[in-house]
């Protein structure tokens, strides 16, 4: 199974960017153009999926830094998201 995982890395070109940051960047650009983007429209998942698709179609991998991806808060977000705690 390990061998199958080899060379599946679509990001070996070395270009990667955080899709969450891309959404922030786009919002900033839109504001600079006098618009008022509002995160209450649509959903986080649609924005992140869309940003990831855009990155991939520009040859850039959607990736996150460990400090942004790893849960350092003791499962709070997990508990909240999974169990409504």
């Amino acid at each position: 199974m390990s061998d199958q995982r080899q060379n599946h890395d679509p990001y070996s070109s070395g270009q990667g960017y955080d899709p969450y940051k891309l959404v922030d960047d786009v919002i900033e650009v839109l504001v600079q153009h006098g618009l008022s983007p509002d995160r209450s429209h649509g959903s986080t998942s649609e924005r992140i999926t869309g940003a990831s698709m855009l990155l991939r179609n520009l040859g850039v991998a959607p990736l996150r830094a460990p400090e942004d991806a790893v849960d350092l808060d003791g499962g709070l977000h997990y508990d909240s998201r999974m169990h409504g705690d």
Binding site: D9, I48, R64, G74
Partner: protein, 278 residues
């Protein structure tokens, strides 16, 4: 050694190109870190992850470099890890129906786009473990389950298949082991990333009570809420104090601290079969 990030419960350092994941004894409930530590909690959860990394190594490569080559002041609370390029998807496996998954099932008959048979109730075991990914966080404050197709659109079909297959494979292997210890893994989450060789690799922690919902098997009774094995104890106590779930959290009395520590220790010992020594 550079301190990269401090979380409510764990800290992240960079050291000679590696990452150091350092767990504290802090405990947090309802999004609030309580002022009283639980002795050994950080070491117990770290060492449980280390045990899992070793015992799951045939299923998935992991980011662990060393559990001993860490600064002495961190003791058994730290691991040295590879730096991974993290996949922007939180990979969740569910073996049982609970929490927000139950609500989605009751509304749609599905969870994250996976159709489930009719007649399931709260706490029901699912016919097969399912992959129910989510975004890392929601900036709308609403629940954000996503489907396999969403993941495929975001990270590509091949990667999505790998994430799904690895997630369910790890869950199955882990749940088999905990079942022998009388513990049900209701659900659990994994973080994956690409290592320097382009191998999809398991990161973060694995099958701990901070990344999973454990239920005692001998108390499992489908048809109502189940009680989590360890953290539920602090959670129930905090609610009983009349605390409004906003900061600052209440100090935990000695009896609750000791009882909670015993729960964490029991989970470690039952799963690993090892005896914990402070």
């Amino acid at each position: 050694m550079k301190h990269i990030h401090e979380g409510k419960v764990r800290d992240l350092y960079e050291d000679n190109g590696d990452l150091l994941l350092v767990a504290s004894d802090r405990v947090s409930v309802y999004d609030v870190s309580l002022p009283t530590p639980i002795p050994d909690k950080g070491a117990l959860l770290t060492q449980l992850s280390v045990w899992w990394f070793d015992n799951l190594s045939e299923v998935v490569p992991n980011h662990l470099i060393s559990a001993t080559d860490v600064p002495i002041e961190f003791g058994r609370r730290a691991i040295r890890c590879k730096q991974l390029k993290m996949v922007p998807v939180e990979c969740i496996a569910r073996g049982y129906l609970a929490g927000l998954g139950l609500r989605e099932y009751q509304a749609t008959g599905t969870v994250s786009g996976v159709s489930l048979p009719p007649g399931l109730v709260e706490g029901s075991r699912l016919p097969e473990p399912i992959f129910t990914p989510t975004t890392k966080f929601s900036d709308t404050g609403h629940d954000e389950f996503i489907t396999f197709d969403d993941v495929a659109n975001g990270v590509g079909q091949e990667t999505a298949v790998l994430l799904r297959d690895l997630t369910t494979a790890i869950y199955k292997r882990g749940a088999e082991r905990t079942a022998e210890a009388g513990i049900i893994v209701a659900d659990t989450k994994f973080e994956f990333g690409w290592d320097a060789d382009g191998v999809l690799t398991l990161g973060d922690e694995v099958l701990t009570s901070d990344s999973s919902r454990f239920w005692p098997a001998d108390e499992w009774q489908p048809g109502g809420p189940q009680h989590a094995f360890d953290k539920q104890f602090v959670r129930d106590w905090s609610v009983s104090t009349g605390w409004d779930k906003t900061p600052p959290g209440p100090a935990i009395p000695d009896g609750i601290v000791q009882a909670t520590r015993e729960r964490y220790t029991e989970v470690y010992e039952r799963i690993t079969g090892l005896t914990w020594t402070s």
